[in-house]
Symmetry: C2
Subunit: 242 residues, 2 copies
DNA sequence: TTTGGCTCTTGATCCAGGTCAATTCACGCC
DNA sequence: GGCGTGAATTGACCTGGATCAAGAGCCAAA
């Protein structure tokens, strides 16, 4: 078990039987009896990059915890223009309570490992356990904060600021512990250029040009199109526009 | 009591003593004993258009229900670029649970009437009453859905589509009952051109030009800069980009 | 009634980022 | 190795919306 997992499992008293692994998210709110009951109807699954998890108007009949990988939530206009409206990292929750239809598409951006439960089971437990609803509220508030942060980026930042903000967002999500201190950060981009463009409200060409510019200025370097090293973190932060 | 109020008070069994008026929002989750207790420390207040309700990093020490008017939630970059990240209409809730600092500025867009409670009192009741937390979760999910809808608009729509989407959003909020049926809708804009620009990620000039274009095409008419009549609703909807 | 200070509109110009069109690169697969 | 395919880069050009600069409408105070 590596450091990353330690962070995510801190303070979780019981094992989720279904996932055969400790994790946070909603399971943390349940007692062992509930977890055993849940395990009977839930399952750990692995989804290949690119696979669609939840269709736009499709009926959602289960909730999931993201155990590993990145899931993108997208919205699409009738003519095909697309916008990513959320990225779910482990140990985020996937699913829209109190609504059978999802307003968004969910798609695996990388290979994803999920622990999913039937909707009905979770909703039954939600009635019994206020702690479960409390966790959902906290997760939803976190997502709302993130969405609002991103609205400022979408509406008011330049392409250059958008790309810098995106790189910092990914860096922070990949490992939130490597905070202010270190100058260099290295990580793999979980998204293609097309995905990044859809996230930032730009075109792939503009994203590519901004990467080129950052490379030329010695702020980042990229290997094999995915592996990014931020060499001048403070300059990237300055560019992101505080 | 007009139709509008009926919609908002449907199914509310008890009076909120503080507001001296029935309303939904969080009060609906409380029993009469709790409402009486709450009334001792809470108050109805009227805020003039333009007044700041909550500062960016200011400590929030009370929650509020919006009884009338519109509150805008904004985020600002260090150089002054601003984005409206949410609009709160009656009977929305105002305040960020589980965090003493707000990530956004809240400002009265119109004259606003509020019913506010001390943070501590609400949080005490939240521990006792799961129903209260349930209402907060529903409101937060609603705001998240709205934020994500708006991200698609900010990231991917043209100026023309943005303005059309905005007008429809206001029309629907001012009176959600006048749904699909009617061709004409009339309402007062609760926002100035500058506010609309900050909401749409545009400049005031672009917003103004789009209004002019809509007027020229006979889709809307505007009196006194605020009073809008949508004369060709279906054409506005087509322009909003589904 | 005039004056001052708003907000809104309109026009003229500019440029960031979109569009279109080639390459070039990464990574299988034979 | 050579080849095919989809992803990424790069270049040339264009345009939607920003910017800059006047006006016009509105209202409140003198």
């Amino acid at each position: 078990m590596n450091l990353r997992q330690d962070v995510h499992t801190a303070g979780i008293p019981v094992l989720c039987q279904a996932c055969e692994a400790r994790h946070r998210g909603i399971c943390g709110a349940l007692d062992s009896d509930q977890l055993v009951a849940l395990a009977k109807t839930s399952s750990k699954q692995t989804i290949a990059s690119g696979a669609e998890l939840v269709g736009d108007t499709e009926t959602v009949e289960h909730y999931s915890n993201v155990l590993a990988g990145v899931v993108k939530l997208t919205k699409t206009l009738s003519d095909g223009r697309q916008q990513i409206v959320g990225l779910q990292f482990a140990p985020d929750f996937l699913g829209r309570p109190f609504k059978s239809e999802s307003a968004v598409n969910a798609e695996a951006a990388t290979d994803v490992s999920l622990c999913s439960f039937p909707k009905a089971a979770i909703e039954r437990m939600m009635k019994q356990s206020p702690e479960l609803e409390h966790r959902l509220l906290r997760q939803t508030l976190k997502e709302l904060d993130e969405a609002r942060d991103w609205m400022l980026t979408l509406g008011r930042k330049t392409a250059s600021e958008k790309v810098a903000s995106f790189l910092l967002l990914i860096a922070n999500h990949i490992d939130p512990t490597l905070g202010e201190g270190e100058e260099k950060v290295t990580f793999d981009l979980p998204l293609t250029r097309a995905d990044i463009a859809d996230f930032l409200g730009l075109t792939i060409e503009t994203v590519s040009r901004q990467f080129t510019k950052l490379r030329a200025e010695g702020i980042i370097s990229i290997e094999n199109n995915r592996h990014v090293t931020v060499t001048r973190r403070e300059r990237l932060e300055a560019r992101a526009g505080h």
